[in-house]
Symmetry: D2
Subunit: 266 residues, 4 copies
């Protein structure tokens, strides 16, 4: 057993902790010596007690016990403070896979919003890559910054304010992710900053948007234009009575992918 | 434009290249001065001509042109040479997301098979993490090794032969992924090597398997046991006639996730 | 314009009427000279005012207008008074189709429940066929009877009390529909009353149930055993912003179908 | 056992028979004293031997046995001879349910095509109702007529040739089903022939079509406009290894429904 690995697991002051109560309810907090967490049942929890515990340990609470967990990027995404739309882990996961984003990648994001997708992108490019995220609203980027900060991912992201059509500061990026309502206005600008062979993803909720986006990317010379939607269906796996869950999310976003080839046959 | 970035994009001898012909057909090859690639239409391509080109460039072929692409992990997964089951990118992407696997993670995989899932895991933990992959069949691991080698991911994986129930060599790993037919036999062994707070994923095609796996993980003290299935549906986004694709994959695997808590309330 | 057709459309005393307020809310009532309907907004409606109106006509209500509709069998199913499980129109429709039920068919139903599926079956066999519906609970059959009565379908159904394993009174029926938790106990009894070439459908929510049911029907000599599940996804078709609905029902029942062949090769 | 019921089950000359060989292959034939059926394995079957057998009986064939089945409307739909698009039973079943079509209904169909949907409609309105089906192509209606004839449903259908925008001959029909590429051109004509309170269904494969259709029906004064799509997923229910089928149909048609209210508040 390597001691370095074990030490990593101890909760330090300022570390994020997901507290799970054995039911559907979880809280994402910071191990903070000065704060209390009001919870859905029983007395508030003094967060100073989390410091020195290890991720995976139980603590006693008023009516039972609670589990201290190291938040995954999915937890940060689902718990992001937000004033704009949500991103679902199923969609973020597929974007990361299809764009080939990995440690070291340089990625432009258009439409920071509350930073939920920024979290997923940044988590993947760390520690040697970077996400350059653009939004026209400073208030959104403030929220996004606080979400990235608590996930300790701020070092891997740069925030920029930008209006539609304005060029990006970066060139030759490995991938671009667009989460804006009118991606067809951005196809040319995206093409300019994307490396040859690089890929773009666009998320949009309506058919009309993905149709217009597909047309725009094709006009701008992109190839391998592909659209899809992803469903997740929960399964209740229980002795002798296993069945799918009765409710499911029927729609979030359509995902559109395209690739920038070199302009000319050599 | 940073020259280092541009250089990275030039195809060197030995580099993997995905060749796309503008239709449904692609080939995953190595830029090799001594080989020819027989293709589905026209004359073979001499692969020495790829060297010195850049990813994203076109080459002329018998009946038109072809695009040279840097393969993503999805391409390596889909093109993996195999004698065992396939893993779908949709499932691999969700496993990476739910397990919180990232650059630096240490992950045990049970059931190397042809290494398709190993590719996805290794790509994510690189360059500072490691995948420890176990199988009882040496012939499968030879295939897996060749698949990892061509993706240049061999440095981030260790292969081990192992029979069911045998302990793993590693301790305190961040996550375990199981792709074996009887995961219920492995719940205790998995628990032993997983760090407190660590997560396990099991992939299985039948309900009977996920039900038995869920029971076994619960008996072994795991919590947050959650099962799901993922669908991907293609959308044909075309001017004035956008519609879903008529064929889709109806089923691949059920995914089961569980978390190892500390054994005792502190 | 044939006057007989027009007359059919006039609401008589005792006729069922579905009242729609232009939003998500509907009420299924009887055109009754002595009753008032308390509604979700504004003053109650005196139901005597419905008599003499035609289906499809608007009436004025407190804050606007409401539409008087002739209920379809789907409306009767969805509005059935119930103390047991619901049946979804998607599942009922497929059962009718797969079993080949039509006007004149003789059908046994096991598990009357609140009569929701009985409504769909009876509506289809009328006016020359009959549904024979069995349940072990008299209280359920009373509810079912009231549901059938208000749909004016009582003449086409016979209610019987029955314990598991007891034989049915009818022979050579065209089809059997089973909506009981342990259909495997009924396979032999069903076979006895079903005509050669006749079909059975079983509805069950868990995988374990359909697996056991499939085994039992196979053991009892049934062939063409086929299971399925049906999803309905709503689409919001709106100018320039068409998209699927965000919520959907993820699971109701699995449907199992089987066919009774003659016992011997001639 | 009622003898009349038994007699109905005996195959007469001219009766349709579905022959099933225990695998995926079936043949829909007529019990004809003069014809032979070439099959996928072994010697042809002389169809005169079917006469006098009962539905549900087995016959001996070259390499085993085959089952004689009474075709359901689903069988007639799936086996319809065709030169135009197919209709899926899942879609036909939902249309019948949502439109409230039943024995005695009078229904206009626009777009006869090969008559697959006509079969489902006619089967449901028989014996006292009628389907009035319109197409602009006489060759299609000839095929449709032969499909209806072999299902013995010709008495319940009237075929009409018609160009777009031409009025229908019938008034006050209970329902209209449209299977044409540009249903928005028909909204007014449909309204004219539909009874107040009657419903229309339109089937179209693209989003663009259902969006335009929804707009047109709304402009024409229809209410309760609702669109959906239906999925069927096969389940392999087998002892100890139950799982969904790996292939499924991903898309057929979107279904749009609307209701014609009276034009004025009374």
């Amino acid at each position: 057993m390597e001691s370095s690995v074990v030490l990593k697991n101890v909760i330090q002051e300022g570390d994020p902790v997901l507290i799970w109560f054995g039911d559907e309810v979880t809280y994402l907090v910071e191990a903070n010596p000065a704060q209390k967490l009001g919870i859905h049942r029983g007395r508030p929890i003094e967060l100073k007690h989390l410091i020195g515990k290890s991720y995976g340990e139980w603590i006693e609470v008023a009516n039972g016990k609670a589990l201290l967990l190291e938040p995954t990027v999915e937890d940060f995404v689902m718990k992001a403070r937000r004033e704009s739309g949500i991103i679902y882990p199923k969609d973020a996961a597929m974007i990361l896979m299809k764009l080939g984003i990995r440690s070291g990648s340089r990625v432009i994001e258009i439409g920071t919003g509350s930073g939920a997708l920024t979290l997923a992108l940044t988590s993947q490019v760390a520690p040697s890559g970077k996400v350059y995220t653009y939004d026209r609203r400073e208030d959104f980027q403030k929220i996004a910054e606080s979400n990235l900060k608590r996930a300790k991912l701020l070092p891997y992201v740069e925030f920029h304010l930008r209006q539609e059509h304005e060029p990006f500061l970066e060139q030759e990026v490995d991938a671009v992710v667009s989460d804006v309502p009118e991606p067809w206005h951005e196809a040319e600008t995206i093409r300019t900053s994307l490396k040859t062979g690089g890929r773009v993803a666009s998320l949009n909720p309506t058919y009309n948007q993905i149709e217009k986006a597909a047309e725009a990317f094709e006009r701008a010379g992109f190839v391998q234009i592909e659209a899809m939607e992803i469903f997740v269906r929960g399964i209740l796996a229980r002795s002798g009575k296993t069945r799918p869950e009765q409710r499911m999310v029927g729609h979030t976003e359509f995902l559109l992918f395209a690739l920038k080839p070199a302009s000319q046959v050599v």
